[in-house]
Subunit: 307 residues, 4 copies
């Protein structure tokens, strides 16, 4: 096994850069569509606290669905396991991230907390137990990232609300099955704010360092989750974290991970390191095209994989 | 991390034994229905070649879908990756193991090689390239297990053929989409023979030891797969190996694995050991109820998990 | 062919009365659940203007989905055919009346105007072109029924709004596909008011007399639709008017018809007469159990059927 | 109402002829693909026994799925209603004619006898009760058509068997649910022979004259079905006879009917006449494009419609 270095990361970025132009930047809201497609960054945070980086690793971007990991982590701190898992499953969906077909057939219980329906249930849980859930999540991220200036991108959040019909349909469908406890619109508003968090690759790797470190933040030493919970969360990421591309991602990269349509991906080598990568163009499953390839190369180059 | 021992394995079996009576023995063919539900065995084969065992670990049983791992391994030896993966996917299905709904919607390309449709495609591949595929698979298993007396259970194979309508429907549907190269009945016959292999827990753990040992059989020193192929196969097992229960299995056990309706499960700790467990009663997803619990306890007790 | 008489209608009611107790009154809202299950009425309005009746034919009840015929009729008066039929189909759904599965697979275009999704699209159309759509529909019904005291049951309408999550999900899903032009909540409010119209069997038969009379109201002589439009509407009723029971209804009764979960059904013998029947208990498809049987007997007794 | 004449029929054919070139000849088997797309014929058989005709009305073609009406008629003569309708439904499918999705969800009970699955069940019924079902069907058609030279097109039947994978999948799926009583291949062979019957428009109109004439053949005076059975069969044709285009056909043409992928359609005006039309190019639902238009024009021109 080889230690990651800034040079290795730089080499990898140059190898994947030719892929830019072959994917497609998310364009369902204008705020995402106008991001420069040539952005490319990567960062690694080891359990020893070293951070390696290359490319646009310090530039903040919209983390989108990566926020589903943070929301679930918060919910796991606030609720007993059975309170969560009676309302959302732990299985891959085998369907598009926003499909309602399975949700109807399975009576309003989403397959897992990383598809939209499942993450909206988690938002509903946070809404039900926290007095100021949006502020709480922000503090949580600021603390874990070590950057007290992290903010919600208000333009992105507002733009998501303007295009929220599909997610409103999902929430109302769950409500019709009794799997939703609050008003739909305020919960969606919080959900979209979480998606609109802006972090850089470095901040993402540091923020999620607890996933590689048995639940303890490498940055702050804070115990975020129990070791057992951390394993469980990584297991969910490995089977459900990459939309309908989790199998291919495991086959190619071999690490638990979570992607967002902003082009970011985080990946975890348990016991070792957390990685974040960013390239806005997406493949057909909605995962960063060059980002996935960079993780695949890194896995080979430094000999890390859970398999 | 604690080394497994016969005693630890025995303790675990006693802890899970009370679960017997809460599951359901597969009964779709008489040969499986009449297996004693109280059977319970476990075996571990470490990469150092040690074998630990407890309970009915030396008694042979019908491995059923665990054979899908062996068939895929053979296919990976015979075909280039793209020849396999253009005919079968690498994603979890999110559906029952024998559902045809997704297969029709995805134009006859099965989701992965561990659901019935995918394994039948793999059988079709083996049929197309081997002159005596049934004999070849048997030799392969005899060699890897170190037991030259391993046989197909002819009664089980014949009984499966008598109840093969659903699998025939699956094969014909794939053929209608051009994803089947041979006659349906002979291919199914081979497929059912593979399911009818009889091995004990000890033989299963030893046979699959290459999965934990970078592709090299611990028993024979034979290189079965390349290290990279072995990682890929483990990745597929982790995301798709437990029917529609892969997510829960990862969450609870944290190891790549493959189950069969005969009540057997194999599980892999890459770089470390292979485990086989047997208890005939199944849970709602079709996975061994006490077997899954035994693996969960073992994972906790000896501190092994890929997450 | 035999002329219907009050006596024939009375006899039929007595024959079907024993069915009461074998169905199930709709109970998704309290206002419907508390209707007496023993209510039973029937009325016939011939093209000559005669009205025959038996049982509780003068008692008003919640017409529920029968209002979908009136709303579509209004829309056909206000819009060109292509404006309607590009937004909603003309085919039976083969699914439950409130399923979202097909709606997602067919990109937000409902199968026909008599399932919930389709009727909500029609409400959206009416909302878009009328300044006071709710008042306009009420006037339309008052005029056609000859009863200026017809009202919306405010309790039912409010209760429906309280249980509107599924329909809100349907509307938002269509909006996400661009097949919805207005705000969801106000359109749903109108939709539920239409469902909450209260009419008796006699009023229903008279109101819908234009369907049997080439588009001209037997009551007022008013031309409601063109003859060609009337045929088209009857064709839609015959293939799509009875939820997922249109085929059985055609097989047994042989008339175009429309049912509501309040237990009412209207049926049309083109060129001859309009019939309305009421019995609150429903069969498994959601159609009045005794009501359907009464229509079947009437069809036999007076020798009327379109087949 | 106007009486049909040869001249009216000729005029209609000239009006629809420009549609030729806008549809698509069925090409899944070579024998159908090579039919001249410019063929165009129509025939009417009145209950008085008059036959009117125009165009290629005397040329025989492959009647394909129109044979499903004849097979069902035979089955209705041989079996009690409940023996048939417990094995096949009476509802429109809302899906493509050869879809297996609904068939799996509804446990192997086909939606109606006019989709492939349903017609294969009917073939299975005929196979179970007749000693020579293929010969019996041929005699039935020869008798009803008044042409003792009607034959099966052996080339078409053989070609269908060569492309029978999808239908074999459907049959095996039903068998896996216990809804199939005989061997799959021989039943399919009979099914394909029925599809391979060759009749002209004139022969089709005469053969099906019992549908318009309360069950009595206009040609032979033979009582084929009871009046009540005839109504029921017409009802099934109206709701399920045009694949997933029954609603549009009812809306436009307003007659019970049945189409085949050979480009033929029969339509019934109960109490009045039977019509057959032929033009090989199909629309997107698989129904004859010019044929449907010809029936629509005829309905307008002579003022016939069940609505």
């Amino acid at each position: 096994m080889i230690k990651p270095t800034d040079d290795i990361l730089s080499e990898i970025l140059e190898e994947v850069r030719p892929l830019i132009g072959q994917g497609k930047v998310a364009d369902y809201i204008p705020a995402l569509a106008k991001v420069e497609n040539s952005k490319l960054g990567i960062a690694v945070c080891t359990n020893e606290g070293e951070v390696f980086r290359a490319g646009d690793s310090a530039e903040q971007f919209s983390i989108q669905s990566i926020s589903k990991v943070l929301s679930l982590t918060l919910a796991m701190c606030l609720y007993k396991p059975e309170e969560i898992w009676q309302r959302v499953g732990k299985e891959p969906s085998g369907q598009a991230f926003n499909s309602m077909i399975q949700l109807e057939m399975e009576h309003g219980i989403p397959r897992n907390p990383f598809i939209n329906a499942g993450a909206i249930v988690i938002s509903d849980l946070l809404f039900g137990r926290l007095s100021a859930p949006r502020q709480r999540l922000l503090e949580f991220v600021r603390q874990l990232s070590g950057n007290s200036h992290i903010v919600y991108d208000k333009v992105v959040a507002a733009s998501e609300m303007m295009h929220s019909d599909r997610n409103a349909a999902i929430a109302y469908l769950m409500r019709s099955f009794g799997n939703f406890g609050n008003e739909v619109i305020p919960v969606l508003n919080n959900y979209f704010h979480a998606c609109a968090l802006k972090l850089s690759c470095e901040e993402l790797a540091i923020t999620h360092s607890y996933l590689a470190n048995k639940g303890v933040s490498v940055e702050t030493g804070q115990k975020v989750l129990e070791p057992n919970q951390t394993k469980q969360l990584n297991a969910l990421l490995a089977t459900c974290g990459l939309y309908d591309g989790a199998g291919s991602f495991a086959y190619r990269v071999g690490m638990p991970g979570k992607s967002g349509v902003g082009g970011g991906i985080i990946a975890v080598v348990p016991g070792d390191m957390t990685i974040a990568v960013w390239s806005p163009e997406l493949d057909e499953s909605g995962n960063s095209l060059a980002g996935t390839k960079a993780l695949e190369l890194l896995s080979e180059r430094i000999g890390r994989s859970i398999f």
